[in-house]
């Protein structure tokens, strides 16, 4: 259900299922949540946006591939915005400098500096496009900022933050258990296919080596006869 076929495949996760459930919801109803979230980030971590001034305060497309929508983040240091972009929108007209695509949880871990961006990129769980300097600048800016999404969002709720934190802890435990169950289901359903893929990959590798050897022999024969 990737918003864009350019992103890595969406993993089977509670996020993916929640995204499916959110499909009928008009995204305009979700926008106030993200507006508050980016304002909070601006209040608590203004240095992130200040570090990006040198790069012209770029606009980014942030695409959580397991959700049916993505975001346009404008890093204007005076008034940053995070706008929901519905599936199928024309990204080319948005004056976007760079795109970052990956599963939501890994994007959050990246935002908090709990996971290494280069490692995610090497493993192909993260796809970047466009101005690589802008992507690198954003990664380095957030990595240096000590962001904690859980704490930052709780702070929005003022006196209600404590009971909401308690509810979030319970929800987190359920989420983790559900994630493990889904992972088991995913592994069980793809295991036969994986075995076939592995066997095919081995055959292809063998064939490639044979073709390379034959090409070399052919070239040598041609060189001799020339």
């Amino acid at each position: 259900m990737s918003h864009s076929p350019k992103g890595p495949p969406a993993p089977l996760s509670p996020i993916l299922l929640a995204g499916l459930a959110l499909r009928p919801v008009p995204y305009v109803l979700l926008q106030p949540i993200f507006t508050k979230a980016i304002r909070q980030m601006h209040n608590r971590h203004s240095d992130v946006f200040e570090r990006l001034i040198a790069l012209g305060s770029p606009r980014y497309l942030i695409d959580p591939v397991d959700l049916p929508f993505s975001f346009i983040m404008d890093t204007n240091p005076a008034h940053p915005t995070l706008d929901v972009l519905a599936e199928g929108s024309d990204e080319t007209i948005m004056d976007i400098k760079a795109c970052v695509r990956g599963p939501l949880l890994q994007l959050i871990e990246l935002l908090e500096g709990r996971i290494d961006g280069d490692a995610l990129f090497f493993s192909r769980d993260l796809v970047v496009e466009g101005d690589t300097e802008a992507v690198l600048g954003l990664r380095n800016a957030v990595d240096g900022a000590d962001i904690n999404v859980h704490e930052d969002l709780l702070d929005l709720f003022g006196p209600l933050s404590k009971p909401i934190d308690g509810a979030a802890q319970i929800a987190g435990k359920i989420f983790n258990r559900f994630s493990r169950d889904l992972s088991l289901i995913s592994q069980a359903s793809t295991a036969p296919l994986q075995r076939k893929c592995d066997a095919q990959a081995a055959s292809i590798e063998e064939l490639e080596e044979t073709v390379a050897t034959l090409k070399k022999q052919l070239r040598r024969r041609r060189e001799k006869t020339a």
Binding site: A54, A119, F122, R124, V128, T132, E133, N140, G144, K216
Partner: protein
């Protein structure tokens, strides 16, 4: 001379990464200013003067030291930023300055003689005569050895010199004579030696074409990765080129150095310090690698076998090599 305990020298590209390195057990942390005076001059990375002062204070409070890398070569006609960096780093309390340029080493020795001088790997000094020269001329206390020597070669070298040696044990590798590589300059006009950037991000493009991820540096296509392949950095030396009808890594595979298994031998060889590469990496990488090498260095100091470090997930191309330590080529 056998070392009793190896010093762990760890990278930091941001203040958060510096704190992560110190918290994970770094003996010393190396970092640079936010300009071309250091060889990791990437966007959003490195330290302002105030951040360095705070970082040095944090390190001191936790029993660690901070080294400042000034390891690029000053621009002709414009040495001032490098000179100012020497003065500022020393005055802010850096334990040592890591430099490669003879002019800058001379300036530091003349103007801040009490701050230790370390010879950067960028100077590519790998024999007793070269190292002896730097020691005699600039009173260099430590040399960071190029990543081209075997363990026996390092042991032999240490017997002939009277300065500390520091060797790389983890992270990215350069295949060229360090400080002299011009591949990045050829492709982009900017090099690690003069501008502090190898394959600057401003010249890198990633494009998704069908099932392939294509990486480009300037006008050059560096690599194409299929869907199932681990990716690597977009440097020319790690590009995949077609020869004899077969695409292959001609110079170097996308892989990371991991010399953990050689720590006992490196101690025996008289090495003083172990260097971890990666100032451009995130604090999660720093925390994981430093903690792992802390365990490894402590185990080696106790005479125990170095435990498996479990760092495969963060290596370039998700592969590891022991590099030149176990060299099988000439």
């Amino acid at each position: 001379m056998t070392t009793e305990k190896l010093e762990l020298v760890c990278p930091a590209g941001t203040p958060a990464a510096l704190r992560a390195a110190v918290d994970a057990g770094a003996d010393t942390v190396y970092c640079g200013f936010r300009d071309a005076t250091n060889a990791r001059n990437f966007p959003g990375l490195n330290f302002s003067r105030d951040e360095l002062a705070e970082g040095i204070e944090y390190a001191k409070q936790h029993g660690s030291k901070v080294l400042v890398a000034l390891n690029t070569y000053p621009e002709a006609g414009n040495p001032e930023p490098w000179h100012q960096a020497v003065l500022d780093a020393a005055d802010l309390g850096a334990h040592a300055l890591i430099m490669a340029d003879v002019g800058l080493l001379s300036y530091a020795a003349d103007n801040r003689p009490d701050t230790r001088r370390h010879l950067s790997v960028q100077a590519s000094a790998s024999n007793p005569d070269a190292i002896g020269y730097y020691q005699k001329a600039f009173d260099v206390k430590r040399v960071v050895l190029p990543r081209v020597l075997t363990v026996p070669e390092i042991a032999a070298l240490n017997k002939q010199i009277d300065v500390e040696t520091e060797v790389f044990v983890f992270g990215g590798l350069c295949v060229m004579a360090e400080g002299r590589c011009s591949l990045s300059s050829y492709a982009t006009g900017q090099s690690p030696n003069m501008n502090g950037v190898c394959s600057p991000a401003s010249h890198v493009r990633y494009e998704n074409k069908g099932n392939k991820l294509v990486s480009k540096l300037g006008d050059f296509t560096i690599n194409q990765f299929s869907q199932s392949e681990a990716a690597g950095y977009p440097t020319l030396c790690k590009g995949r080129f077609v020869t004899e009808d077969k695409p292959s890594y001609l110079f170097e595979d996308p892989t990371s150095l991991n010399a953990a298994q050689f720590l006992p031998e490196l101690m025996e060889a008289g090495v003083t310090a172990l260097k971890i590469e990666g100032r451009q990496r995130g604090k999660a990488y720093i925390a994981q690698v430093v903690a792992a090498f802390r365990r490894a260095a402590d185990a080696a100091a106790r005479g125990e076998t170095v435990p498996p470090l479990g760092l495969e997930n963060i290596t370039e191309g998700q592969r590891e090599t022991t590099g030149a330590y176990n060299k099988r080529w000439q």
